[in-house]
């Protein structure tokens, strides 16, 4: 199967492991990712904070490119996914604004191209069964909690992804990999997002709580699908030494991909001791 691919700015920088593991795992499972031609930054949280129109036209330009390519778009980053879905929602529900945006960006919205996040694609296009069948090294004994964060699930009418209060899709993927996702109540509680650079003091207690709750739930690590959450949870956890994975990394590990080692080496909090303990068992 083929998807247009929108990596987003961080997958080549602070979210490098996410980008590498995504492409490796998709290749291994026969998903062809064709990067969108000359895509631009979606604007993330800064655009909608300062300039409502820009917040819509930046992702709209990418939408126009995707439309031309004629395929659904796979978007690993939760924030980019959220911004593109919002534009899609506005274009499909608000005729007046659609006309404005079309005029500024210079295209005609058809609504035929869907923006999808990676968890959705793995859950629905690959499916748990096929994933489980491809597993060579089941992640037995890996107790984890799935952390979806905010932007994959809210606003629900925009993201249309899983249950916004009790999502399950990521957990289902972990089960398929042989891991042991634990029940916990903080799967969609905010990590503090982009406040991490300018108000780290606000973010630190939020991260500390998430890690404490993960530990209380019996988990040894947190699995996420958002590059900003992953950085926050690693960089702002103080001395907790609590590994934070991208779910694609775990898929790669379970599929037995050799390059997985290199991804883990780049983490700010080294997950390799945990993985070695599991391998030894």
């Amino acid at each position: 199967m083929q998807f247009s691919y929108y990596p987003g700015c961080t997958l080549h920088s602070t979210g490098k492991e996410y980008g590498q593991s995504t492409t490796a795992v998709c290749t291994a499972l026969g998903i062809e990712l064709l990067e969108l031609e000359d895509w631009n930054c979606c604007g993330a949280s800064s655009a909608h904070s300062l300039n409502e129109e820009l917040a819509l036209t930046l992702p709209a330009r990418n939408l126009a490119i995707a439309q031309a390519a004629g395929r659904d778009v796979a978007i690993p980053c939760a924030a980019c996914f959220n911004r593109h879905r919002i534009v899609d929602y506005v274009l499909s529900h608000d005729a007046a604004r659609r006309q404005e945006i079309e005029a500024v960006v210079g295209f005609q919205y058809t609504g035929r191209v869907r923006q999808r996040n990676l968890v959705d694609i793995f859950a629905h296009e690959v499916g748990a069964a096929r994933l489980a069948a491809a597993v060579k090294r089941p992640l037995t004994g890996l107790k984890a909690v799935s952390y979806y964060g905010c932007l994959l699930v809210r606003p629900p009418e925009v993201t249309q992804f899983d249950d916004p209060e009790h999502p399950v899709l990521l957990d289902q993927l972990l089960v398929a990999l042989g891991a042991e996702p634990q029940e916990w109540s903080f799967a969609t509680e905010c990590c503090g997002g982009s406040l991490t650079l300018n108000r780290a003091a606000v973010v630190k207690p939020l991260v500390a709580n998430l890690i404490a709750m993960a530990q209380e739930a019996g988990a040894a690590c947190i699995v996420t699908a958002c590059p900003l959450c992953q950085v926050n949870l690693e960089a702002r956890q103080g001395q907790a030494n609590f590994p934070i994975f991208y779910f694609t990394e775990l898929i790669g590990l379970a599929l037995g991909l050799p390059e997985a080692k290199r991804w883990f080496a780049q983490h700010l909090v080294d997950p390799r001791p945990l993985l070695r303990r599991l391998a030894a068992v």
Binding site: T14, N40, L50, C150, R154, P164, G193, N198, R199, Q266
Partner: protein, 176 residues
């Protein structure tokens, strides 16, 4: 007498800007209780709406609340009156900047300006130059220095920026 006068026109302005029917808020505080950054705000989210309803423009546009909103959208998801408070916060951020209100959180709008500046410069974010610009703007040079070094060592901060081909079309989007 410590009474305050009411300006009932402000709520209509903000409602129009944000696309939310702020008059529908009946102060149940469900938003505030679900908000991750509310404890750090000077006015909790429900209070922000109340101040908007009463027209206390200065208090709202200078507040830290509007900038501390992380747009996590719990408020919008849970509000019984279908008000997306995060969208109201965005509108207030924009009105604060337009009105030249220097509030309590100068760093945050400075960060956003640096971020957008990076897009204007390259079409995509180049962390290295963006962060340097932000640090200069915020004069917060020393914070997270160790984190920055770690990230560079792990190869997560590309040194050279790349311009996208369609940069001119992107720059046109910044019309204002």
């Amino acid at each position: 007498m410590a009474t305050a006068r009411i300006d009932p026109t402000f709520v209509r302005l903000v409602s129009q800007r944000s696309g939310q029917v702020i008059a529908g808020c009946y102060a149940c505080q469900k938003c505030t209780v679900g908000c991750p950054t509310a404890p750090n705000m000077d006015y909790a989210p429900d209070k922000v709406l109340k101040l908007v309803q009463l027209g206390w423009k200065e208090a709202v546009l200078r507040s830290s609340s509007i900038w501390l909103c992380a747009t996590c959208d719990v408020c919008g998801k849970r509000c019984p009156n279908n008000i997306n408070i995060a969208a109201v916060m965005d509108a207030l951020k924009q009105m604060a900047v337009e009105g030249g209100y220097s509030g309590r959180e100068r760093n945050i709008p400075a960060f956003h300006r640096s971020f957008l500046g990076s897009i204007q410069g390259w079409g995509r974010i180049h962390e290295a130059t963006m962060l340097v610009l932000y640090k200069l703007r915020s004069r917060d040079l020393l914070a997270d220095l160790d984190l920055g070094v770690k990230l560079i060592v792990k190869g997560k901060i590309p040194l050279l920026p790349r311009r996208i081909k369609g940069l001119r079309t992107v720059r046109k989007l910044f019309r204002l």
